[in-house]
Amino acid sequence: MIDVPLQAKIKGEAFTELPQNLYIPPDALEVYLESFEGPLDLLLYLIRKHNLDILDIPMAELTRQYMVYVEKMQAIKLELAGDYLLMSAMLIEIKSRYLLPKPAEIETEQDPRADLVRRLMEYESIKLAAENLDGMAKVGNGITVASAYYQHISQVKPPEVSLDDLTEAWRNVLNRASHFKHHKVSRAELSVREHMSLILRQLQAEPVLEFWQVFDLADGIPKLVVCFLAILELAREGLLRITQQAAFSPIYLQINRHDD
């Protein structure tokens, strides 16, 4: 369980005591509130937790408890509130309709709770069905299908892809991933990336290389610099181990792995 100190505030005031009818360990409050999938999930929890009869819900009690949670959610994580507030309004409406003396002409009206109860039951059965689906063995989680290699003899030409298609795809990725919004890949960075792959390939063929072996002096200075940057980047990403026994002794490069 996560040990989070309670930092909830209600109406600007930090509270140190939880309402008595909430049986939540304070340190777990935030995790707890986040674990609800929405207002229906929360309502179901309250009904089950307090052994309320779903077919005869005490609206005043349920509404009161629901509001306590929603206030806390607002205090902790405001963006959760939208759907929850809508439900608050609905609960209050049902409660008031239920409590008001009914005029004679709508005596035959159906129980104002009926629609809510139907939705709660529908949601509960879906929730359980989702758990069942999640628990089923499926391809990718519990079922592994045969996928052995065979030599492909291509009879038909595979799809044609142009450089434009590729960059278009990359642009789509960048456009969608907002945290990459201002990301720009420069040629310099690309060539470092290319050299990173090349060095990893070399190390697959030969597990230990001396530092100088990855450099080809015929390449010219810009390429040598790029190669050096690639080594640094590989080391930074934890992919490469650079070792030297003593000063001025040979520097070795190898794949970083703990189990060797």
Binding site: I54, K138, V139, G140, T144, V145
Partner: protein, 193 residues
Amino acid sequence: MTIKLPASIADLKQVLEAALLTTNQPLSLDDMTRLFVERVERTSLRMLLDELKQDWASRSMELVQVATGYRFQARAEYAPFLARLNPERQLKYSRAVMETLAIIAYRQPVTRGDIEQIRGVTMNPTIMRQLQERDWIDVVGQRDVPGRPSLYATTKHFLDDFNIVSLTELPAMADFAQQEIAFPTDDEVFIKT
């Protein structure tokens, strides 16, 4: 090109086995007939598949039938071993994704609005993308109301991945009006899904 014809039934079976062990998609009987230049009857194929199933009865893989055809898969008892090989490949979806999938599976065809109504929350657009990306759901039409919202249903690929032949094999939905279910204990509530 020298294409050797399979000389005997035994050869046919070898070809079938090789095809089934090398493709990660289930093979239908139609697919299998395409393996051979000469005509092979479906009844012969079924017979060979039965034999293959027998041949593998006590081995590492089993031949199973799913919605779109036949495939070999590792026996369930080896799943924990294979999971260790590729822990990153164990696909796990959030509760929101699984609830959405359950609604589509059990209530299809449904619109996004239907799903939001049942779950009581506005849907995060990535949920549908996850399910479409996995090829578990797709659009089967539009509801004839203003806005013509898309109707979603599960695909055959969904059945394949869940190792079943038809939706009727899904676990039955609980009927809560009749039967009250014990509420999970706090421990269960904290399980991260």
